[in-house]
């Protein structure tokens, strides 16, 4: 089967093309030795099937980033039958820089001019034929998005792959042309494949090449010494880059004619003016972030009720609807209750909760009707449906969060935020680029950790990986929602979404603080450079968003009915049986014994020995099962609450009701609950996330990350509990922190040449 490789700049639409070509045959693997995704698939619409390999997005074939090395080595070593170079037609010059390098290899190349739909929309013109003549390889106009031109592209690529090709370089007519020619001949004489490519790279002073061909390097060095005039002592690397672009501008740039006059603003530019406004940029970002959480967790849409209340002496317009008809009341409560009009997220939660409660009641009734054994009824009603149902009721809300995050990401706004925040981030030792994986962490830590691969600096990557779990993921969100909802229910005047937002922000703040500390201690170094393309804004495609949602939904349901189901069964079993396999009350169960072991440890955090009737173990156990999946914490809450005596009356606030119940029975204070939430937010993430972070961490270093998580969560939760319960302890904490900072700063002053950021350069 022939192999075609896809190569191109990031943001050129390569992945869209890959998806269009391979459809469901695509699968993701790993490039050996490096942590970069390898995507492969099969294209089936030619006479014979063709394997497609998606190379990482790269700007050039220099050996300075893992992606570039992978792409280059793949083409040199694996010898694909054709390289399809995706070029963003709206960005021709820079894209062609890579093209000129690809052309230097002895491999068939087909250029796909992508984004022709945008070109047309802008009224600009593309002369693909001229380009083809100049480059000497097939050039096909396509729109990967719209699906046009793809068949022709593949057909021409296929044809090219049958013909073979010798490399050519645009540097032939440059001052370097002569020495390149000489070295090429030398290498060809030694039967080195792709002699031209190696020759060019050698002349450019490419590190990998120099190591591999020391003899030829001497030729180049000699040439350098000999050349008089303009070439003497020059940096050939710079010369080559310069020559390439000169050639591109002179010969290829003409293929693209603009309709718009220079300086005219596009819609994207107009949006950018506001979103990255000098003064309003950051406040707007904060509002957008807050809006995300408000729409997901809030119970008072746009705070309308509270605002009306201000004008009305404390009385909002909201009230609990009581028509006398229970069903109607419950249904109305989904959209509107004493708190106010529900936000979309709250509506979905209430609806789902309504459904799961209804199903739960149905199952319970059914079980009773057939007179199933008591233990079976318990297992199904409390264990299985309690755990799984409880988690399921959060699904719509989490999906809402994901949807909003998707919109942010797909629109291109994220890159802008990195741009805005870079300076602030730098103070803490990170580049703005690190922001993107962090925000992804709000959805799920796993893709966020994978995204850190795009961070060039090793230390930055390691630090970012460590703190990604601090960005409360979708699985932890139910914990926050339930706890904040419970506190809001018990104490008047507390807005649940504000509290949730505060906790999210706290997680972010902890991440930044820990990064700052790491920068001063174990991860000293300079901040990574920040030279990044800012792709244009575009409205996220509705279809794309829905596809994302659907996949996430499938994933969530699958998770609920496998891992969480199994965990719930196990928890129920452990809490209802003793070591002798007898069914007992909860105080004599296995769970109780195991949990009690940990209780004293949890005392400083507010959920240990101080709890009534020794119920500290409840929280400890819930946290432990959270290691399997963070949703298990809520599942455990429910199951254990029932075990203690919680009677589910099928109200429409179940996620919150059992927390309220636990508050009552265990005597945990709201401070302890907050500390508990903080603990869960900062501690070791679920196995899946931990495994992913481990994969992104150098060998042998992961144990430090685990220690980091456990230490940070334990200490922070303790501090939170102490400060919230006894306000004066804040002074002690501040003093200790100040002492620590002073110590670290003084110690670092003794280290020579330590710079944070590159401000010293000017």
């Amino acid at each position: 089967m022939r192999k075609f490789a896809l190569a191109g700049n990031p943001n050129s639409g390569k992945t869209t093309l890959f998806n269009a070509l391979t459809g469901s045959t695509a699968h993701v693997g790993n490039w050996p030795g490096v942590t970069v995704d390898k995507r492969e698939g099969v294209y089936k619409r030619l006479p014979e099937q063709v394997a497609i390999v998606d190379l990482p997005g790269i700007y050039s074939l220099s050996p300075y980033t893992p992606e570039e090395v992978i792409a280059r080595n793949y083409i040199l070593d694996e010898k694909p039958d054709c390289v399809i170079n995706i070029v963003d037609a709206t960005n021709l010059e820079r894209n062609l820089y890579l093209t000129t390098q690809l052309l230097e290899m002895d491999v068939p190349v087909a250029v796909a001019l992508n984004m022709t739909d945008v070109v047309q929309k802008n009224g600009d013109k593309l002369d693909a034929k001229a380009l083809e003549k100049q480059l000497g390889v097939p050039v096909v106009e396509i729109s990967a998005l719209k699906g046009t031109g793809i068949k022709e592209l593949m057909e021409r690529a296929y044809k090219a792959s049958s013909q073979g090709r010798k490399g050519s370089t645009v540097l032939a007519s440059s001052p370097l042309g002569h020495v390149i020619g000489d070295v090429t001949i030398a290498l060809a004489g030694q039967k080195v494949p792709n002699p031209l490519f190696h020759a060019v790279k050698l002349v450019e002073g490419d590190e990998l090449e120099v190591k591999a061909h020391p003899v030829e390097m001497e030729t180049v060095a000699a040439f350098q010494k000999q050349s008089a005039g303009s070439l003497a002592g020059q940096d050939f690397e710079a010369l080559a880059a310069d020559a390439r672009y000169k050639y591109i501008t002179a010969n290829f740039a003409g293929a693209y004619t603009r309709a718009k006059k220079k300086g005219e603003l596009t819609r994207s530019d107009k949006a950018d003016r506001i979103l990255t406004h000098r003064i309003w940029g950051i406040p707007i970002f904060l509002v957008i972030l807050f809006a995300m959480f408000h729409l997901t967790f809030g119970t008072d849409f746009l705070y309308l009720n509270t605002i009306v209340g201000w004008f009305n002496g404390g009385e909002g317009f909201a009230f609990d609807v009581a028509t006398g008809n229970d069903v109607l009341d419950s249904f109305t409560a989904v959209f509107f209750c004493a708190d106010g009009i529900s936000t979309p997220g709250a509506i979905l939660f209430n609806l789902m909760d309504f459904i799961t409660s209804w199903i739960g009641t149905g199952i319970a009734a059914g079980m009773e009707a057939i007179d199933a054994a008591a233990w079976a009824q318990g297992l199904v009603n409390e264990g299985i449906w309690g755990g799984v149902g409880g988690v399921l009721s959060f699904v719509p809300q989490i999906l809402t969060l994901f949807l909003l995050l998707s919109i942010l990401e797909d629109s291109g706004y994220m890159a802008r935020v990195a741009f805005i925040l870079d300076r602030a981030f730098r103070k803490f030792g990170l580049s703005g680029r690190a922001f993107i994986p962090m925000i992804m962490g709000f959805g799920c830590s796993v893709p966020a950790a994978i995204n850190t691969r795009t961070l060039a600096d090793d230390k930055e990557r390691a630090m970012t990986n460590r703190v990604i779990p601090f960005f409360t993921c979708g699985a932890k969100a139910p914990i926050l929602a339930a706890v904040c909802g419970a506190i809001a229910a018990e104490y008047t005047g507390v807005s649940p979404d504000l509290l949730v937002f505060a906790l999210y922000v706290f997680g972010m703040a902890m991440a930044i603080i820990m990064v700052a500390i790491m920068r001063q201690t174990t991860m000293r170094g300079e901040v990574a450079p920040f030279i990044m393309e800012l792709p244009a804004y575009h409205a996220p495609q509705f279809r794309n968003l829905m596809v994302h949602m659907w996949d996430k939904l499938k994933h969530y349901i699958k998770k609920a009915f496998t891992i969480i189901l199994a965990s719930s069964i196990v928890i129920w079993f452990l809490q209802n049986f003793s070591w002798q396999w007898q069914m007992v009350s909860i105080e004599e169960s296995i769970l109780h014994d195991v949990g009690s072991f940990l209780t004293w440890l949890c005392t400083p955090m507010g959920f240990g020995l101080q709890l009534e009737a020794g119920y500290g173990w409840v929280f400890a156990v819930a946290a432990v099962v959270g290691l399997i999946a963070k949703e298990n914490v809520i599942a455990a809450f429910y199951i254990i609450a029932v075990g203690i005596g919680f009677a589910d009356v099928g109200q429409s606030e179940d996620g919150i009701a059992e927390v309220v119940y636990l508050m009552g029975e265990t005597g945990i204070t709201w401070q302890g609950l907050i500390a508990y939430t903080v603990f869960n937010m900062l501690t070791v993430p679920c196995f899946a996330a931990a495994a992913t972070v481990k994969a992104e961490t150098p060998k042998g270093k992961f144990r430090y990350t685990v220690a980091f998580w456990m230490l940070t969560s334990y200490v922070t939760a303790t501090v939170v509990y102490l400060v919230l319960t006894w306000w004066w302890t804040a002074i002690i904490v501040a003093a200790v922190a100040a002492a620590f900072i002073a110590y670290v700063v003084l110690r670092n002053k003794g280290v020579i040449g330590r710079k944070v950021g590159s401000e010293n350069l000017f």
């Binding site: 943001n11 639409g13 992945t15 695509a26 993701v28 790993n30 995704d37 990482p56 997005g57 963003d88 709206t90 984004m115 739909d117 945008v118 929309k121 990967a144 998005l145 596009t266 994207s268 057939i370 007179d371 199933a372 054994a373 233990w375 079976a376 297992l379 995050l405 998707s406 990401e409 291109g412 993107i436 709000f442 959805g443 799920c444 796993v446 893709p447 994978i450 995204n451 691969r453 795009t454 792709p535 244009a536 804004y537 575009h538 409205a539 495609q541 994302h548 996949d551 996430k552 499938k554 994933h555 496998t562 891992i563 199994a566 069964i569 196990v570 079993f573 899946a688 495994a691 992913t692």
Partner: protein, 67 residues
Amino acid sequence: MLQLLASAVGTVVSVLIGVAAVGIVVAVVVLHVVRKKQGKGGCDCGCDGCPGCHACHSHTDPKQKKS
């Protein structure tokens, strides 16, 4: 008679549930261990699984640029 039948159903169902429960736990554990051995797993992300799976898609589809 009906009573006997009813309670029989109850017992059968109960037993089935118990067996199923154990089966599920075992199946899930085995499934995950096998997947771990194969090197897969983690997010179960079909790479369209998480909307945040932008690592795999690296800035997905800048379609209508400069719209």
